[in-house]
């Protein structure tokens, strides 16, 4: 039976194995390639998307669990790249290789949605579930802070 949900504000119907992790449904069946595979076991955060507004690890989330849910991927955050987190990421020149950054951005934007003005420690804690192998951590933390300031305006 097909699973119906909304991805980036578009209704989609997925007639595939209901155990398929959301990550692979997005990438292989919906051609949304911005969400990345990093570990497959919810350890690195590269696959982070929002499910009903909550950041989740799509690599371990079967699509059966997202029936009727609202899903937002990096492509849907703001396609024009004007979300404060995206703008801050560019301004502070965060990416090195860039591969983990979709997951970092979705985590950061999720954090700020809940807590628009986090303390430094809340930023560090909120972002430490995502691995960046290039070591862009300083700029990630600074960019979350900058995005937070942009939200205040």
């Amino acid at each position: 039976m097909a699973i119906n949900c909304t991805v980036n504000k578009k209704k989609v119907s997925l007639d595939i194995d209901p155990n398929t992790p959301l990550l692979w449904a997005l990438r292989d069946h919906l051609s949304l390639l911005g969400t990345k595979y990093g570990c497959g076991i919810a350890q690195c955060g590269a696959c982070t998307v929002w499910v009903n507004g909550e950041p989740m690890r799509s690599c371990v989330l079967p699509i059966s669990a997202v029936s009727n849910a609202q899903i937002t991927t990096i492509e849907g955050l703001d396609p024009a790249g004007k979300h404060p987190v995206q703008v801050a990421w560019d301004e502070l020149d965060v990416p090195q290789c860039g591969y983990c950054q979709a997951g970092q951005i979705m985590t950061a934007a999720g954090l700020l949605k809940k807590n628009p003005h986090p303390t430094d420690q809340e930023i560090v804690d909120g972002m430490s579930g995502n691995i960046c192998r290039c070591g862009t951590y300083h700029r990630i933390q600074e960019a979350v802070k900058l995005a937070s300031k942009k939200i205040k305006k």
Binding site: Q43, C44, C97, C134
Partner: protein, 698 residues
């Protein structure tokens, strides 16, 4: 008049042919063939690195594969500086493998800027000079009276012409053989902070990486590889082939490839696949490797890499002898994007696409494998989700090509994280033994290093500091063959040798009753006045980074702060570090690392800081956590739940400085890593009186 696209393509193609012929310093083979390509790009390709069309669009081509080192931004910055255009108007494109247009189209050894600095400047400055001449001709003035600014030529009587409007006329001029480069005081871009050219695409989730490649008719595949040293005896494919979404199961070279319609189908099929392996020799375990290290240390067959004076006699006469042994395990590169590659092998042509640091050797390797000439093999470069040396090996390219040739379909082979961590070409495991002899004044009179590496090649850097400052030196290397595959890992060899050497020198300084910084400076003073034998480094540049870091970090001037010092030279660059450690709840915590780097001219300050900070975090994380164990040829751990990567809540403050000396740029992707383990270990010692001899520390 409005110029239609078709119109200007024709115009552009008229003059590009002339130009590519003229710019033959890039390649003696540049020919009419290249002008055909320009028609396709639809722009006036002045040379390999840049095109300016009649509408004024400036496109800069970056040939080297982008892996996160920022070369796709740094190269065009240099061209744009000498061309004198407004950066905001510039478009940057990744060039695919093109051996006719480019030399050294690879990512490795931190060597790109060192190799291309002159070429890039010349590419920009030559076209700038032609623009000036074209404008001077048009205005009938002396060219010396004209100048350029932000993509315009300005004349003596207030004339102003854009490069776009001059492009066609400039293209008809002879190519100047001599150009003058800008004075560095006039730089507008070089040395400033320039944001990554791919940032916008990254933050909006564009498909930039190998794993994102999608081509018509493409199928997916994963490959099950044998334990190191094992051979595939049999496998059960029949049930697997019947599983939904599975298209084929094929075997080659001891591997089993599962081909399917989508990733999840293949992942499920893998769980049902059973493979039976055998081996002629015993498969390797941790104990095998430990025994090899023990044997290597006792062996009388070491290769002598360097000998100055008479080490044996000097050490026998020493007032004090210091000896220490250091060891590091095999570790995985673990880029965030696991290995993957696309191949479409047809009877007489091949398309390869994906993340490789070495497209030309990849092309050659596939040509040798499939007996298809290199000129029939096209290589498209994707952005790489990290590599750290892993993508210098071609194993994953060859697998994709071989599989495509077997199944006769375009295929994207993807490695899971487990495949990536278990699949080899690791940083080699190495054991080092250092010995130093001091005279009664605490001067080092004898120094020896033996490296025993497992598939490490020469595990020493025999001409590096402190060699050159000591009269009696013996450097030896032993390479033990292993079935575990190895390859370059960010700052090959020096990523651990730098730690071992800098930790050892800290111990030597303590035994000699000397300050570690002063001891280095005194040794360098000797090198300056009377070097012993051949050296590869410049003592004055070494000295400068040491002095600057001591000043910036207030070496030994911060009461209550435990500091550790290190300095290392690699990839022609110099990095000195001072790490600070605090003890919190009985545990040492690295709170700050100050680094001073001499990599010559800094091209992009933002990118340079990223490289230094990233390399320090990389060096620290791997020194603290990373280790692979071996049991019957199988590596573990196999994923990030056990194989710990450093995280954002574990990083120190990093204060990165650069020496401003205007020397031609040298490497920066790697040099800040080798000193990191040492500065941290030495600071931990200062705080806890416990020395670390093995990585990982924890």
């Amino acid at each position: 008049m409005k110029t239609s696209r078709r119109d200007f393509i024709q115009k552009a193609s008229l003059f590009t042919g002339v130009f590519t012929l003229g710019f033959d310093w890039f390649s003696a083979e540049a020919s009419a063939e290249t002008s055909a390509m320009e028609v396709v790009t639809g722009a006036g390709r002045f040379n390999a690195f840049l095109s300016i069309d009649s509408l004024g669009k400036v496109t800069l081509f970056s040939p080297n594969p982008e892996i996160g080192q920022g070369i796709k931004t740094a190269f065009p910055v240099v061209v744009a500086e000498e061309l004198d255009v407004d950066w905001a108007q510039v478009q940057v494109e990744q060039a695919n493998l093109d051996t006719k247009q480019f030399e050294r189209q690879l990512t490795g050894g931190s060597g790109a800027l060192k190799h291309s600095w002159e070429r890039l400047r010349k590419a920009g400055a030559t076209v700038r000079k032609m623009m000036l001449q074209a404008a001077a001709d048009q205005w009938k003035v002396n060219v010396a009276q004209c100048k350029t600014s932000k993509g315009f030529v300005l004349g003596p009587a207030g004339q102003k012409a854009s490069y776009g409007s001059l492009a066609e006329a400039a293209a008809k001029l002879p190519v100047p053989s001599e150009v003058t480069f800008k004075d560095r005081k006039d730089y507008k871009l070089i040395g400033t902070r320039v944001k990554g050219v791919d940032n916008k695409n990254v933050v909006t989730g564009k498909p930039l990486f190998g794993i994102d490649i999608r081509k018509p008719g493409m199928v997916f595949a994963q490959i099950v590889r044998p334990p190191f040293g094992a051979t595939l005896k049999s496998f059960s494919a029949e049930d697997v082939k019947k599983m939904p979404g599975i298209l084929d199961v094929v075997s080659f070279k001891n591997k089993v490839a599962i081909v399917g319609e989508n990733t999840y189908a293949i992942l499920q099929a893998r769980a049902s696949l059973t493979c039976d392996y055998g081996s002629e020799l015993p498969l390797e375990n941790n104990e095998t490797h430990a025994n090899w290290f023990d044997e290597g240390m006792k062996s009388e067959k070491a290769q002598v890499m360097r000998k100055d004076g008479d080490f044996a006699t000097a050490i026998a006469s020493a007032a004090k002898v210091i000896e220490a042994t250091y060891e590091c395990p095999f570790i995985s590169h673990s880029p965030m994007e696991p290995m993957n590659f696309f191949a479409d092998v047809k009877a007489d042509s091949v398309l390869l696409a994906g993340p490789t640091q070495v497209p030309q050797p990849a092309q050659k390797a596939v040509s040798d494998l499939l007996k298809i000439p290199v000129d029939k093999i096209q290589v498209e470069l994707s952005k790489m989700g990290g590599g750290f040396g892993r993508r210098l090996s071609n194993d994953f390219v060859l697998e994709a090509a071989e599989l495509s040739s077997l199944i006769k379909k375009p295929v994207l082979v993807m490695w899971t994280r487990e495949d990536d961590m278990m699949g080899g070409t690791y940083r080699p495991a190495v054991r080092y033994r250092f010995k130093a002899g001091l005279d009664s004044n605490g001067e080092i009179i004898a120094f020896a290093l033996r490296g025993v590496g497992l598939n490490a090649g020469n595990s020493t850097r025999q001409d590096n500091f402190p060699v050159g400052a000591i009269e009696n030196v013996l450097i030896e290397s032993i390479d033990q063959k292993s079935t575990v595959t190895t390859g370059p890992w960010r700052a090959p060899i020096t990523n651990f040798l730098g730690f071992a050497e800098q930790a050892f020198l800290d111990e030597v300084a303590e035994a000699a009753g000397k300050d570690p910084v002063q001891m280095r400076l005194a040794l360098l003073e000797k090198v300056k006045t009377k070097p012993v034998g051949k050296i590869t480094y410049e003592p004055v540049r070494f000295e400068e980074v040491i002095k600057q870091v001591a000043e910036k970090a207030q070496w030994k001037k911060k009461p209550g702060v435990h500091q550790g010092f290190s300095v290392y030279y690699s990839h022609l660059s110099y990095v000195a570090q001072i790490a600070e450690v605090k003890v919190e709840k009985g545990k040492p915590r690295v709170t700050k690392v100050t680094a001073v780097t001499d990599c010559g001219e800094v091209i992009n300050l933002s990118g340079a800081e990223n490289q230094v900070k990233g390399a320090i975090i990389d060096g620290m994380g791997h020194a603290m956590f990373a280790k692979l164990n071996f049991q019957a040829g199988v590596a573990s751990p196999q994923n990030f739940n056990v194989y710990r990567m450093i995280r954002g809540n574990e990083i120190p403050v990093i204060d990165a400085h650069f020496v401003n000396n205007g020397i031609a740029p040298t490497g920066l992707g790697e040099p800040a890593l080798p000193p990191t383990g040492g500065s941290i270990a030495n600071a931990i010692y200062a705080a806890t009186k416990k020395r670390h001899y093995k990585q990982p520390f924890s």
